[in-house]
């Protein structure tokens, strides 16, 4: 308790890390960071670093846990052993089990579990670096990961905390404020303003509590905006997003029938080919093979011309272009090259062999 700050808020109304009372720590997030998971999100919030992964809906084992009318949500909140200065004993603890439970319940009202009876949706939230407010950070990350996994939800869930330090309510506590402050109220909210998680430790008056809820809601709204932005910007890099007119309307069955019908024909042909050796089809194929070969050899020649011994076409093209550019520049700037070289010579005591030649 020796490192408790004397004052949390200075005379200018700024907190220890320079934030105003209603200002959050900077947050940044990225979705789709894990390729094996169905959905994932990496979130940094101040000094918090959280990674969330979603698997499912998938088959639930053991079967006795299955719910016949809806999917089960399993939420695992875990702090990495190295996430704080003092090593945390790995494995579930009283604290992490409790947080897992309340976080799961924060999602249950929004996830459309009844669409997947008997299945399970696994959410893993791993805290890599902790600096107070990790459960809210984990919920924000998990919400994004669920969206990324394509799981139907009524809305996104955002969470943040309000606390009391120096008798004043502040948004989004950091470590010292959490450790030595008077109260901590984490809260999660759906996008239409329903509160799905609310916890409190410490003490506040009724008025303060009401004010804290309002501050939390405002914080959650800000986070929701960031979440929306992150999700929307993922595909804006692509060209115009397009949905073909045929979505949903495709008469797949008719299509498959035609696929199957022609398949059988192809079957016959290929069997003939196998039986009788070369048929017309095969010759055609060979022709195209030869064409491909020719193309290949063309490329090879190009490679020889430019004296580049790399296999990748792309890089070759790149270098070709660069080379030609360089050539132009060489013509223009022989003088400056010489200057450059002489400069290098001055700086480096060893004169490179190339340069020697030129000097001679």
């Amino acid at each position: 308790m020796s490192d408790k700050p004397e004052k949390f808020i200075d005379e200018n109304g700024l907190r220890l890390d320079g934030r105003r009372v209603n200002e959050m720590r900077p947050m940044k997030m990225e979705i789709g960071v894990l390729t094996r998971a169905d959905g994932s999100c990496y979130l940094e919030w101040g000094k918090n670093k959280v990674l969330a992964a979603v698997y499912g809906p998938r088959e639930l084992h053991p079967r006795r846990l299955q719910k016949s009318d809806s999917a089960l949500i399993r939420y695992r909140y875990n702090m990495a052993a190295f996430s704080v200065e003092e090593r945390i004993r790995p494995g579930p603890s009283r604290r992490s089990i409790e947080i897992s439970k309340v976080s799961r319940e924060a999602f249950e009202p929004v996830v459309m579990t009844h669409l997947y009876p008997g299945a399970v949706i696994d959410v893993f939230a791993e805290v890599l670096q902790a600096d107070a407010g990790t459960r809210t950070a984990a919920i924000n990350a998990a919400s994004m990961a669920l969206a990324d996994a394509g799981i139907p939800m009524k809305g996104l869930v955002s969470a943040c905390a309000v606390g009391k330090v120096d008798g004043q309510l502040v948004l989004d506590l950091d470590k010292p404020e959490d450790n030595y402050g008077d109260a901590d109220i984490p809260m999660a909210m759906t996008s239409d303003g329903e509160i799905t998680l609310l916890q409190m430790d410490g003490d506040v008056t009724q008025e303060e509590f009401k004010k804290a809820i309002e501050m939390c809601k405002e914080g959650c709204r800000q986070i929701l905006e960031m979440q929306k932005e992150t999700l929307k910007k993922k595909f804006t890099k692509l060209e115009e997003v397009e949905i073909s007119d045929d979505e949903e309307e495709v008469d797949v069955s008719a299509l498959v029938e035609c696929t199957l019908a022609s398949e059988e024909e192809v079957d016959d042909v290929s069997e003939d080919a196998l039986g009788e050796g070369a048929t017309g089809d095969d010759e055609d194929l060979e022709d195209s093979d030869i064409e491909e070969d020719l193309e290949d050899s063309d490329i090879d020649e190009d490679l020889e011309d430019s004296d580049i011994e790399e296999d990748l076409e792309d890089s070759d093209i790149e270098e070709d272009l660069e080379d030609s550019d360089m050539a132009d520049e060489d013509a223009e700037g022989d003088e400056e090259d010489e200057l450059e070289e002489s400069f290098r010579n001055l700086e480096e005591t060893d004169i490179p062999e190339d340069d020697k030649e030129k000097i001679v």
């Binding site: 169905d38 088959e59 394509g150 939800m153 997003v241 007119d245 498959v256 660069e322 450059e340």
Partner: protein, 258 residues
Amino acid sequence: MEREIVIPGQLLSENKTDSGPGTYVKDGNVYSLLYGVKNAKNKISVIPFSGKYIPSPGDYVIGTVIEVTPSNWIFDISSPYDGLLHVSEYPRRVDQDKMTEIMDFGGSALLRIKDVSSSMKVELTMRERGLRALNVGRIIEITPAKVPRVIGHGGSMVSLLKKETNCEIFVGQNGRIWIRGKDGEMDLLTEAIELIVKHSHKSGLTDRISLFLKGGDDVVSEKDEPFLKDDLAKDAEDECEIREETYRKVDALLEDDG
């Protein structure tokens, strides 16, 4: 047509009759359930970017045997729910002890979903023309959400792929695609399908793929060109900087000498 990336909980319409797949109605307003692209044709629907395959009756799927019981083959259909194929749903009469001879653990088959119960018990059938066990070819897995793009408008994409690669293709609605042909052609087709999945949100997809299949690497170079240009521009800039810096240093050195 209006196209827009939407997120869960986003208001799509104030008219509840607009609600289509991937949306829900609350207080007379339509909201999105999914993270995906809004499709505002007739009714508003949301096509997700990702998600698991959920079996529905009548769908064609490709399954892999994970268990053989005395009267059923149990198939993994890359969904949260396994599919059951009863021996009576096999086109021919099969004795119990011959079941593994027809399809054994690990084998794949083209199947149709006969029925899905409310508790998601999935019944499969093979009693239909063209459905059979698969012994040759390859199976590619893609996100089920992209299957409509691989099929294309009225099957245009599949026809194109078949025509250009001489491969047999069967697109299962569970995101598994069976292909069969010569090795090189299957490689090409696999690449083409990867390309479809990668560029599935862009316009002119069929043309792009057609170009890819006909002209070899045209699509790739077309795509990489801007990057190349950017890189070159950057390189040129870098060189300018170096040159200026060099001038300055040389000047300084000359001054020192003087």
